[in-house]
Symmetry: C2
Subunit: 490 residues, 2 copies
């Protein structure tokens, strides 16, 4: 019997933790806060990487690689950045171990102390802008459009698999431009690419908007984010794109000669998404039976399970199953044929439901006689038996339909959980219920902070499609110019 999950209703957080482990996505390691991403989980992340990488390259970006370590002094160069990032981090102070003279294993060699400590990168703006100084002399060297796939470390006190881990995997884009407009356009382009990926591949609807000053990236003039709504009514920030102005260029003295021969500071953007997207994916679609994956990100989209008694029947069924596999693969569908004799069909059914494989085909002796095959959708758990001759069309059609259905379902859920609050009483009630809450805000950090203390809700973003709409702040009663999006968040 496959492992049984705690229901979402009973304990959402427990359900999530169990699902991540039971579906073989990830687990905690022997190192505090660091996870092991297991092959099945990593295969989903690889699919995400491949699509994002393609989208980055199509828009003119190139990959490169910068050092894991950043000298401590680099962080001090950009004033607000240091406060945001150089605090909770892994610090390398020594470069050698030696045998314990008392014979008890190994100890840090006190003679091998570094002159300057190295920080394991929590993000790479500083080391990259230190490098860009050498690369940029004139307007001819611009723009620089670089992305890096890398691991980063932030010393988190409370960690959860995928959602918040000490080490995580991500991509970070770092671009350099001759003008403010170009840097701003890039910043917006990238948040739109993230939204397109989230909606088109993860089947996860998102709200695009800008962050308030208090929630901005340390060192940014403007931070764009995409915000998704999880099944428990909490928001999840799924990607950010920052307009950095000339802050890092000034901190690292990166100037360029304009066409007119003047020296000017370079304009910058940076943007990233991480393995946190795995958490978002899980919490958007999965159910009490297990993981539900959109076909576009499933490591295999179809699993074929043979139903048989004895070697002869397995052999007969296998011949047909392998033909089906080949036919589907020729259509670009990824297929696993699970002919392991160590597990019963029932166990396998449960296992692949737990793992969220979009379509399950079951093929038995009776099917061979009738020329039929059974198909089961993971998203609806519906089963159907049909003529095997029609398999190609059927599978391709259903995969499209599942992808679409997941997006529609998640969008409907979000719409049902999106509210507008006109009074603070209403606001508190709605936040307690969970969901996205639109409300007028007076634009001050003070109000934002008070609402947070009071309700644990934060301003997720000022949505890009928000309209000028005069009113009064739901909290302070002061004048307000538009509604912003509040929620409790991961």
């Amino acid at each position: 019997m496959a492992k049984k999950l705690t229901s979402r209703e009973k304990d959402y957080s427990q359900w999530y933790n169990e699902l991540v482990q039971f579906a073989d996505l990830a687990e905690n390691s022997g190192v505090r806060g660091c996870m092991v991403i297991k092959p099945y989980g990593f295969a989903i992340w690889e699919k995400m990487q491949a699509e994002l990488d393609r989208m980055f390259k199509e828009t003119g970006h190139e990959n490169a690689y910068f050092p894991l370590f950043i000298p401590k002094s680099y962080f001090s160069k950009e004033a607000s950045h240091v406060n945001g990032f150089a605090k909770e981090c892994a610090v390398v102070t020594h470069y050698r171990l030696k045998n314990d003279p008392d014979g008890k294993g190994i100890i840090v060699d006190p003679d091998a102390k570094l002159d300057e400590e190295l920080i394991v990168r929590p993000t790479s703006e500083t080391i990259i802008w230190d490098t860009y100084r050498k690369w940029i002399q004139s307007y001819r060297d611009l723009p620089i459009l670089i992305n890096q796939w890398a691991n980063v470390v932030r010393w988190e006190m409370r960690t959860r698999l995928f959602l918040r881990t000490t080490e995580f995997l991500w991509q970070e884009g770092h671009t350099a431009h001759a003008t403010k407009e170009e840097a701003l356009d890039e910043t917006k382009q990238m948040i739109n690419i993230y939204a397109k990926f989230a909606e088109g591949f993860m089947a996860m609807p998102v709200v695009i908007g800008t962050k308030t000053e208090g929630e901005r990236f340390a060192g940014a003039l403007e931070t764009y984010s995409i915000e998704a709504l999880m099944q428990d009514g909490k928001a999840l920030q799924a990607g950010t794109s920052h307009f950095l102005g000339q802050n890092f260029a000034k901190a690292f003295d990166v100037k360029f000669a304009t066409k007119e021969g003047k020296q000017e500071y370079v304009w910058a953007s940076s943007w990233g998404v991480s393995t946190r997207l795995m958490g978002a994916l899980i919490m958007t679609h999965s159910d009490d039976v297990g993981l539900v994956l959109p076909p576009k990100l499933a490591p295999y989209q179809v699993v074929i399970i043979p139903i048989y008694k004895g070697d002869k029947q397995l052999e007969d069924v296998s011949v047909v199953a392998l033909k089906v596999k080949k036919e589907l693969e020729d259509l670009g569908v990824s297929v696993k044929f699970d002919n392991r004799d160590t597990h019963k069909p029932g166990w396998k059914f449960a296992e692949y439901e737990l793992k969220g494989v979009p379509l399950r085909l079951a093929l038995g002796n009776r099917d061979l006689e009738n020329g039929t095959i059974e198909i089961a959708r993971r998203d609806t758990l519906e089963k159907e038996t049909f003529q095997i001759s029609d398999i190609g069309n059927k599978v391709v059609h259903l995969l499209d339909k599942i992808q679409e259905n997941l997006y529609t379902k998640a969008t409907t859920f979000r719409e049902e959980k999106t509210y507008t609050a006109n009074t603070y009483e209403e606001f508190k009630e709605l936040i307690k219920k969970g969901g996205f809450v639109y409300a007028q805000w007076d634009g001050t950090s003070e109000t934002e902070e008070k609402i947070k203390q009071d309700t644990k809700a934060t301003i997720r973003c000022i949505p890009e499609d928000s309209v000028d709409e005069e009113g009064v702040c739901v909290y302070s009663g002061n004048k307000s110019e538009r509604k912003v999006l509040f929620a409790k968040a991961y």
Copy 2:
């Protein structure tokens, strides 16, 4: 004018360092021993990764990800491993910085000292086998065939771009098996895959063999390597595959229940190649003009350069150039059209020769009239003008030919530089000249060490195709059973 390289004859080492930088492959960073891999260099590495990853997956391996940090105590568990790997490494001792009370930037917070230091992984056997213990209970859980693409850190005193850096990128495979035979087969399979990659994609001939005890991986019972010969007559170890026996299973207590219900320790292999392959690629094919790339690993295989005067001519030439680009891309050829108006054609010619683009097409006004185009091969620097209608066949044919020619050339070079020494005088003379030297060896570490002290030559490997051939050791005069491969090495 593009930058002019020091010739190989004059100073091979200087030539290498300049080439890596002038061709935009990599550069040193502000962090001692850590490199920045620039977009053009990284694009080559991505091509390598893609091919290797495909070969790994075709042989049943899956990717996963394990933590960057390893608790210090893990290293002490495997006795020989600790001596090999836990010495020169980056040690994380603290997890927080704070503002300097004297107002001078930031300092390490003494209150945030870790109870147990963390080592930045120099290789991941220990953390992975600590994880496998949880994954393996019975023979049904075996084999485990996992690979990880990751960064690793070894605190090197003398570093050189790609060849030896403090941080480098690599892949490390870690497999677990029920039997010794299976683990050994896997070890051999992987060294053969590396050889196939080196020869088939890098166009670099290699010798496959086993390492002597003194040169083995710390913790392995047997190490297989592929050894290539660089243009300066020095050997370069390009990949290794280790048969680890039950050493790590015993150190981390990883047992499994056999079919018969007995408890046995698991058998293991590990194998890896790194960004060092970039150094091998550069030093195998490049010349005094610049980089030479095999078409199968070139970021773009063809560059098209327009020759024109004025906007009108550029426009006319571009129409044809873009048609050619499209036609070649449809044939699976990667093409860059460099229509930048900021650089002259002559500058571009030099630039792409420096960057090793396999084929250069030049297209001018005269060509448009005649229906011709000029093609130049990077490997031979030969030029030819031919009918543009024939472009598809011509380019595809030439790319195949260049790939083949590079392999043949490198193989001929290696054969010319491969010697057999019958006396120690002869041996010393040959080693001084540079190249691969086969010689009888008595099988003792003592002799191996003395030869190394005397000549700087090491036993690169005991080639897998070496035959039993009784004789006397070239150094000691003692009985010897076969010839082994000596060389000075990177």
